[in-house]
Amino acid sequence: MDLIIEADQLCMAFGSTQALSSVSLQVEKGEMFGLIGPDGAGKTTLIRILTTLITPDSGEAKVLGYSVHKQSAYIRQRIGYMPQRFSLYPDLTVEENLRFFSDLFQVSREERESRTEELMAFSRLSPFMKRRADRLSGGMKQKLALCCALIHTPHLLILDEPTTGVDPVSRREFWEILQDLKGKGVTIFVSTPYMDEASRCNRIALIHQGTILAVQKLEAIKKLFQKTVYAVFSPDLTGLSNHFKKDLRPEFVQILGDKVKVILNKEDGPRMENLVASAADQGHTVHHVEQLNPELEDVFVTLMNERDSHER
């Protein structure tokens, strides 16, 4: 088993904020690894350490077998990086940007030409070769940035929230491209705040307040989840949710559209039948109750709350 990324006890603080505390994870060759967490969780910090843009306060990380401390030049040469913000030259055309980045990585002429053709074909940007980067749509910009990150055929692609601020159709298209790349053997490390995107990854790491909550396959993470999720349909959502909050922690009661979502422990704690019965006694109307499949979001919220309550 080849390890492409090995992070070991990475710590990073900015002033008094602890951005990362003792983060360890491993990414295997050829997998698509998702780093999932809300804004401010430390995703960008971790990615900047792995791309050697910043030096961690302590801990070691190896990318493609090279140390981020001592061998940053080797790493930088071999990875493709797409920062969170669109970071190509807005006044250069698609073609000029690609040319510039291929020169930066010293890609030979023949290789550049064949590679450009290939990248343009799958990103469908060929008709826009002469267009300035700032006149592209959001989705096209992201695809161009991806192409520039791939021009030197890197072994590892590191993407920082590539689909933030991109419309849903382009998002789906972008992920399909990533899937294709993975099929070609490129290892992908991608961060995202969107839970639904995590399902496209082989393995995910949940990160919250600078700590990794879990690193697992998606199914395994859902198994970790010792809870059941119910949807309670009612005309009086506010009253009902307030009633539930008397017995349950407020984080586990959530109004969603036409229903109240309730998360209960599998083993102990209040049971759904009892809760509904007591709600009916109090004069709340309950139409019906459904059991839901846990979403990653539910898992995340639960793990986050468990950790926070440990700290308290």
Binding site: L53, I54, P83, S87, P90, D91, L104, F105, Q106
Partner: protein, 369 residues
């Protein structure tokens, strides 16, 4: 260092310039515009000073003197009056800057004692002008005694100062070279600091850093294209000074441009140094202006002579590159002196430039902060 990476970096800068012709035009027009404004504004020649004359003598001798004053380009007589007490009112409403008082005894004294007194009252609120008025009137009147009486003066010494290199004492002749020094420092520091700050602001620096690029390639890739741009600006303002303000150019253009290049490298390096501490274009621009303009104006001998500064400031002037370039440019343009006389300044300037470049390259980091 790889040339195959440096050239694309420079080509990219050229595309930036080409795509933004408006900024390019501003870069060329602004210095000329500044030169035009300051060339006239920092004018220490006093011409057409409004003066009043109070002639109590009313003699042919006094009329003769008045016509002499009238003929001078420096003065314009706007008030004639008979009562010396009225002069204060003229000063208060600023209608005159100086008053010439010709006493009643003027003609008589002049006739019999070949010596007479004249009163000059100047407005001290503007001390500069007051001194100049005094000096000009002095010159005018001493000439009057010498030439008009036709007889020997009683003064045991007659001195006539001779001003070399700028015989007419035209202030444009020393202001224009000084402006070139100032403008090039400002523009040079601004060019590099702003373009690097722009790469930080748009995030492009973060993107290009994750590549095999090396620090000195980034630095040179910025400095070289802007060096040529700045040289173009230098040539344009020198020509403008020479053709418009008629500043003489006695020395060698080649050597001046050569030293100009050395000086610009220093300016660009200072800009680079500024760019390492700022993250937005606006801050970069402000800092570049403040860091270069104040010292280059105040501490170089451009406006205030170094010799008359307090000693601490005199020491400080030795660390400012503009001080040396001012000596060089004035030497070459106005005196046409040979390189032999300039080498101490050239060495000092190069040393300071090298120092800034080394620090800038050292401080320029391939990491994000």
């Amino acid at each position: 260092m790889k040339l195959s990476r440096l050239i694309p970096l420079m080509r990219k800068e050229l595309i930036h310039m080409k795509r933004d012709p408006r900024s390019l035009v501003i870069l060329f027009i602004m210095p000329i515009f500044m030169m035009f404004i300051f060339g006239y504004a920092i004018n220490m020649d006093v011409k057409n000073i409004r003066i009043g004359v109070c002639d109590l003598s009313k003699s042919s001798a006094s009329r003769d003197l008045i016509s002499k004053i009238k003929a001078s380009p420096y003065f314009r007589i706007v008030e004639f009056f008979d009562h010396p007490g009225r002069s204060e009112a003229f000063f208060l409403d600023r209608s005159v800057r100086a008053v010439v008082l010709i006493p009643r005894e003027f003609a008589r004294d002049f006739e019999f004692r070949r010596f007479s007194r004249i009163g000059i009252i100047a407005d001290g609120c503007d001390a500069n002008t007051a001194t100049l008025v005094q000096n000009y009137l002095d010159g005018l009147l001493s000439g009057y005694t010498v030439f008009s009486s036709g007889k020997q003066t009683l003064s045991p010494f007659v001195y006539k100062p001779q001003v070399l290199y700028n015989p007419d004492m035209q202030s444009s002749h020393f202001v224009v070279p000084g402006l070139v020094v100032l403008i090039l420092m400002m523009v040079g520091a601004m060019l590099t600091s702003v373009t690097i700050a722009r790469e930080k602001e748009t995030g492009t620096l973060e993107q290009i850093l994750v590549s095999p690029i090396q620090a000195h390639e980034v630095v040179l890739g910025k400095i070289i294209p802007y060096f040529f741009l700045a040289m173009g600006i230098a040539l344009s303002i020198l020509l403008f000074g020479h053709l418009w303000f008629k500043v003489p150019f006695l020395g060698s253009w080649f050597w001046l441009m050569f030293f100009c290049g050395l000086y610009l490298f220093t300016a660009l390096a200072i800009g680079l140094l500024i760019s390492t501490v700022v993250s937005t274009q606006q801050v970069a621009m402000m800092l570049a202006l403040i860091a270069t303009m104040l010292p280059s104006v105040m501490l170089t001998g451009f406006i205030f002579p170094i010799a008359s500064m307090p000693e601490i400031l005199q020491v400080l002037t030795k660390f400012i590159p503009a001080t040396y370039f001012l000596i060089i440019i004035r030497g070459i343009m106005l005196k046409g002196i040979a390189l032999v006389e300039l080498w101490p300044s050239v060495c000092a300037m190069s040393a300071i430039g090298l120092f800034f470049i080394l620090i800038a390259v050292k401080k320029f980091s391939l990491k994000l902060k």
